[in-house]
Every structure is written in structure tokens, then in C-alpha cells.
């Protein structure tokens, strides 16, 4: 389990992260969403024991990150993919991975097999002896991911893994993350990419120095927007609204062009009564649709913006 308890960090009087608390269960994929400078990277660095917290603490597999004696053990359990791949560009892909495998203490008898398997899995085995400097951004990112996984860590921290990648490379990386998730690894993903977060992660956290919200995307949508229904009419009439506003479970009803937008406690329960009331008033209903609020809506609402 990854856990943050009132985690905070101040740099020379500037608050980067404030009072952040969350927990991520083993095998769960969790995404941190937030604008640049929100404190996502700082949080990851604190959890990976790279920088210290000025307030609060965190736990990786029950080990306290504020205890210096735990740092080596924690770092051996985690794999970190930083924002920049940071490969040794004059060295080959194989030499890069071999170096990290040795540093992570991968046993000699397993090292070669593990490097080969990882390079094959990422489709770069044929270029294992080429200098990394000759690789595309996508390939470098793949090797960087392989590097973070050389020691088969239980906890994987990925900081913007698909930023600056072309769509094809981003899809490859994303699919690889899904494979890791299937393997039961705990994934902590920092990203700007809302679609990526929604596809890969079970839960998200929205950070802007403070943690604004955490939860599964659907739960957050319900929490911030309720559940909504749109009734598409052939002809709109403002007189339809009083007939349905007073029905039980209807929180709000308003007219938008030829549509009635309804905010409901439970659309499945209330939709039949609403439709009946509208038909009695002479409305001609074309079709009824449930409104789904995506992560973008949630994110913008939390950031104080508008779509």
C-alpha cells in the first residue's frame, strides 16, 4: 500500500505540496491530475525518498518514508520513471539496462534473461546494441520504463510517461501500463492526459498544491455533477417545466433549445414518471439520454475553469 498522511513540502517559503493525504491499495492504479506546478512531481519524489517532506509523512508497504533507515529498502521496492527518460545516450540500450539491473541488485543468473525479455516485450530487442542517443523519444521512453521495471518492483511511479510522445508511441506505452496493471502491480501515475488517466487508472486524485478530490472517475462525476438526463423534444414549450419540477427525485430542470436538462437523484427510478408527465402535457418526445460527465468536466470544475 502507498499512503500519504498530511504530506507537505515547502521550498524556500513557497508551498509546493500542502496537507496531502491518500492511500492506494496494492494492485490499484492511481492517477494524479493537476496543472504544471501543482506538486505532482514533488509528491512522487517525497514518496520515492528522493526529497524529504517538511510536513506529514508517507508509507510504502508500511515503511515510513521519513525514517532514513528505510530509504534503501523503499527504493529497492519501487520503480520510478521520471519526467525525462534520462538515459545514458552514448551507451547501448542493453548496457543502460544492465547498469540499472546491477544497481538494483538483480541476481547475475537472472539479469541477462530479464533484460532480453523486457527488450523483446517492448519490441526493441533487435536494437539492443545501438546507442540510446540514436533512438526516437518513444523508444527512449520504452527503455526508461524497462529500466524502472528491471528489479520487478511492486510499486511503480510514472511521471508523465506519455508527455512529448507521438500518439502511436503514447498508445504503446499506455498499453504497456495496462499490462502492468493486469500483472497486479501498484501504479502511481502523474499525468496531464485525462484520457490516459481514465483508461489506465481505477482512481484519480486532483492536485493543486492541495488534494482537491480523490475517487473513481464515475464517483467523482456523480459527486460533482449529480446524475443527469436530457429529454429531446420535437417542439419545446416552457410550460412543460412546472409539470416535472415538482416530481420526487428531480433536483433541477431547465430548457435548452429543444431539450430539457434534468438533474436527478436516480435517473433509472425517475425517468418513467418524468416521461409520463411530459406526455400528459402534450410533449412529443424524440428520445431520452443519460448525460455522462467525463474527467475533463470534473478536472475543469475542480480547477475553477469552464468547458
Amino acid at each position: 500500500m502507498i499512503e500519504a498522511q498530511h504530506l507537505g513540502r515547502v521550498f524556500d517559503g513557497t508551498v509546493a505540496v500542502e496537507d496531502v493525504s491518500f492511500s492506494i491499495k496494492d494492485g490499484e492504479a492511481f492517477a494524479f491530475l493537476g496543472p504544471n506546478g501543482a506538486g505532482k512531481t514533488t509528491t512522487v519524489r517525497m514518496l520515492c525518498c528522493l526529497i524529504s517532506a517538511t510536513h506529514g509523512t508517507g508509507f510504502i508497504d508500511g515503511l515510513d518514508i521519513s525514517e532514513k533507515n528505510n530509504h534503501i529498502k523503499i527504493r529497492s521496492m519501487i520503480g520510478l520513471l521520471p519526467e525525462n527518460p534520462g538515459m545514458y545516450e552514448s551507451l547501448s540500450a542493453h548496457r543502460n539496462l544492465d547498469f540499472y539491473a546491477r544497481l538494483y541488485g538483480v541476481p547475475e543468473r537472472e539479469r541477462e534473461a530479464r533484460i532480453s525479455a523486457m527488450l523483446k516485450r517492448l519490441g526493441i530487442f533487435d536494437r539492443r546494441n545501438d546507442a540510446v542517443g540514436k533512438f526516437s523519444k518513444g523508444m527512449k521512453q520504452k527503455i526508461a520504463i524497462a529500466r524502472a521495471l528491471m528489479h520487478e518492483p511492486s510499486y511503480i511511479f510514472l511521471d508523465e510517461p506519455t508527455a512529448a510522445l507521438d500518439p502511436e508511441a503514447a498508445i504503446t506505452v499506455r498499453n504497456f501500463l495496462l499490462e502492468l496493471k493486469k500483472e497486479g502491480r501498484t501504479i502511481f501515475l502523474n499525468t496531464h492526459n485525462l484520457d490516459e488517466a481514465q483508461r489506465v487508472c481505477d482512481r484519480i486524485g486532483v492536485l493543486k498544491t492541495r488534494l482537491l478530490a480523490t475517487g473513481a472517475p464515475d464517483d467523482l462525476a456523480t459527486r460533482f455533477f449529480g446524475r443527469s438526463t436530457i429529454v429531446h423534444l420535437k417542439v419545446a414549450n416552457p410550460e412543460f417545466l412546472p409539470a416535472i419540477r415538482n416530481l420526487p427525485g428531480v433536483l433541477d430542470a431547465r430548457l435548452d433549445d429543444k431539450n430539457i436538462l434534468l438533474s436527478l437523484v436516480d435517473p433509472v427510478e425517475q425517468n418513467p414518471a418524468i416521461i409520463s408527465a411530459l406526455v400528459l402535457k402534450g410533449a412529443q418526445i424524440e428520445y431520452v439520454q443519460e448525460v455522462k460527465h467525463g474527467l475533463e468536466d470534473i478536472y475543469l470544475k475542480l480547477m475553477g475553469g469552464s468547458k
Binding site: R45, C48, S52, P82, G86, Y100, L103, A148
Partner: protein, 342 residues
């Protein structure tokens, strides 16, 4: 500290050095220049014009007819006279003998000069024994048991060559360290390295050793051609093999490695504050200044370049090393690197 972790870093650094032409140039060209080119350029011209040593004095056919004890002899021409403790100035002497004399602005031919000081004169076809010559030409003369002007120059040049051997392991790290630390910073490869289960000390030790080993090794290897060249060139003049001697051994095997460590550690500190390889090299180069200052002081004659002063100088560098080591330990910490290294 787990040495095996540091050694993994050393090996990775070596792999990178092999691919960096600037590091290879500094590892091979600089030692060749200092161990082969400079000794040849400095020593060969001097040795060409130097007076060879002599085992047997010249046969001069002196027939002493008069002995002068003490006093002054000036503005005269003398022959077959033996002088003791005499001040001689502006004299032309032929077939004379001088013991403990001071000879100034004179011309001496076919004579024996013993334990005397000869200044601004010409001593032609004579035996000069245990004497000091200052601004004096001695064509065809033999130096017996004393240093000729050319020998003095040779010793001076040989000592100045030692300075280069102390400087090589201080200069090479400025090049390697700039790529090792600033290069890694520019390449953004420090963060994944810092995320590994290694301590700050293991990382610093690995990086330091990776720079220290090749720098000192090429210095020691290049000592061999330098010793051979110096001995080959100077043996005909000195009559003995001057290298290796204790001053050089202390310089190359004691002072030079300490200077190398100082250079690496200073460059760690410099690297923390700069974000450009060239700037790092330029600022890091200041580490050679104490070595140059010491040798200038020694070569200027302010202190004698002997074993004692080499030991003293080495000990001073050792103390500075320890101070800089503790500073670099504070600079090379994960938190510092990620938060403050610019």
C-alpha cells in the same frame, strides 16, 4: 558503504568515457605532451650545449713560481701563480691555481680553480672543482665535483617537469568531472540514478573513483617515458641517472594523487552550481593554482625543492582534501541535487 555498488558506477562511467572523444583526448594527449614532448623540448637544447662531466682533470702544464695568500689582485696579467683566499678582479690569468678565491670580471685560462666563486668571467680550458659559477662562460673547461651552469639549468628544468606531473592528474579531472557531473545533469539522468537503492556516499565514491583511477593511472604510466627521456638526455651531462629520485617519487605517487582527489571534489562542488560543461571546466581549473604557486616558489629559490617540502606540500593538500571532501558530501546529497543543482 557497499563498495560493490560504487564499483558498478565506476564501470558504467568507464563505458561512457570510452565513448567520449574529449575525455579520450585528455587521457591520452595530455600525458603524451607532458611526458614526451615537454622533456624533449626543454632538455634537448640545453643538453646540446652543456659541458660534459669529467672523471680526470685536464693536463695543464702549470709550473707554480709564486704563492699569494689573501689580499686583492686586480687590473693585471698573471701566470704560474697560486692564489689562496684572494679577491681577484679584472685579471687575465694563465696557468694559475686558485683556492677559495673570489674571481670577478676576469679571464682565466689553463688553470685549476678549487672552492672558488667565479662571477661574470670567462674560464677557458681549466679544471673547475667544487666551485660556484655565476654568469660565467667556461669553454673547454671541466667541472669536477661541482655543478656547471648547464647542470643547474637541467636540474631546474627537471624540477619544473615534475610540476607538470602533479598538474596532469589535477587537470584531467576538470575535463572528466565536467562531463560526469554536469553532463549527467544536462542529460537529466541523475534522477533515475538517485532513485536506485544506493546511498549518496556510494554514488559520490563511484563517480570520484571513476575519475581518480584513469587520471592517476595515466600519470603513473606516463612517468615511465618521461624518466627514460630525461635520463637519456641528461646522463651525458650529469654522468648519473637523475630519475627517479625521491622528490619525483613523492611528487608523482603522493602529491599528484592528492591533487587529483582535490580536483575531483572541487569539480563536484562546481558542477552543483553551473549548468554548462565549459564553464565547469574553466572554474574547476582553478584547482591547479596552488600547485603552480608551489613550484614557482620552489623554482624561484624561495624554498628548496626537496623531500621535506614535498612532504609538507602533500600534507597541506591532504588537509585541504579532507575539508573539501566534507563540503562535497554536503553538496552531493539527493535533496541538494534535485532541489538546488541548477
Amino acid at each position: 558503504m557497499r563498495f560493490e555498488k560504487s564499483w558498478i558506477i565506476v564501470r558504467k562511467e568507464f563505458s561512457e568515457f570510452r565513448k567520449n572523444k574529449y575525455i579520450l583526448y585528455s587521457l591520452f594527449l595530455m600525458p603524451i605532451i607532458m611526458s614526451v614532448v615537454l622533456p624533449v623540448v626543454y632538455l634537448v637544447p640545453i643538453s646540446t650545449f652543456a659541458t660534459p662531466p669529467a672523471d680526470h682533470p685536464l693536463e695543464l702544464g702549470i709550473n707554480i713560481v709564486q704563492e699569494i695568500q689573501g689580499g686583492n689582485q686586480s687590473n693585471s696579467s698573471v701566470e704560474n701563480i697560486r692564489f689562496h683566499n684572494t679577491n681577484i678582479e679584472n685579471v687575465i690569468a694563465n696557468k694559475c691555481e686558485f683556492f677559495n678565491c673570489t674571481i670577478v670580471m676576469s679571464v682565466v685560462k689553463n688553470s685549476n680553480l678549487t672552492s672558488s666563486t667565479i662571477t661574470g668571467s670567462v674560464v677557458e680550458h681549466s679544471n673547475i672543482q667544487s666551485s660556484t659559477t655565476i654568469d660565467t662562460n667556461a669553454p673547454g673547461s671541466l667541472f669536477l665535483g661541482s655543478e656547471s651552469e648547464s647542470e643547474k639549468y637541467l636540474l631546474l628544468i627537471i624540477n619544473s617537469l615534475l610540476m607538470f606531473f602533479v598538474l596532469i592528474p589535477a587537470i584531467i579531472p576538470t575535463v572528466i568531472a565536467s562531463y560526469s557531473f554536469v553532463g549527467e545533469k544536462l542529460n537529466k539522468s541523475l534522477e533515475p540514478l538517485l532513485a536506485t537503492p544506493t546511498t549518496d556516499t556510494e554514488l559520490l565514491a563511484g563517480k570520484t573513483l571513476a575519475i581518480f583511477i584513469p587520471s592517476v593511472l595515466v600519470t603513473w604510466i606516463s612517468l615511465l617515458p618521461a624518466v627514460i627521456i630525461v635520463d637519456l638526455v641528461t646522463y651525458p651531462i650529469l654522468g648519473y641517472y637523475i630519475l627517479p629520485n625521491m622528490i619525483w617519487i613523492l611528487g608523482v605517487f603522493f602529491v599528484a594523487p592528492l591533487f587529483c582527489i582535490l580536483s575531483v571534489l572541487v569539480n563536484v562542488i562546481v558542477s552543483a552550481r553551473v549548468s554548462d560543461v565549459r564553464t565547469s571546466q574553466q572554474i574547476g581549473s582553478i584547482v591547479v593554482l596552488p600547485a603552480i604557486a608551489f613550484f614557482i616558489v620552489a623554482l624561484a629559490g624561495v624554498v628548496v625543492l626537496n623531500e621535506f617540502y614535498m612532504l609538507l606540500f602533500g600534507t597541506a593538500i591532504l588537509i585541504v582534501d579532507l575539508i573539501v571532501f566534507f563540503i562535497s558530501l554536503r553538496v552531493f546529497q539527493r535533496e541538494e541535487i534535485l532541489v538546488k543543482w541548477k
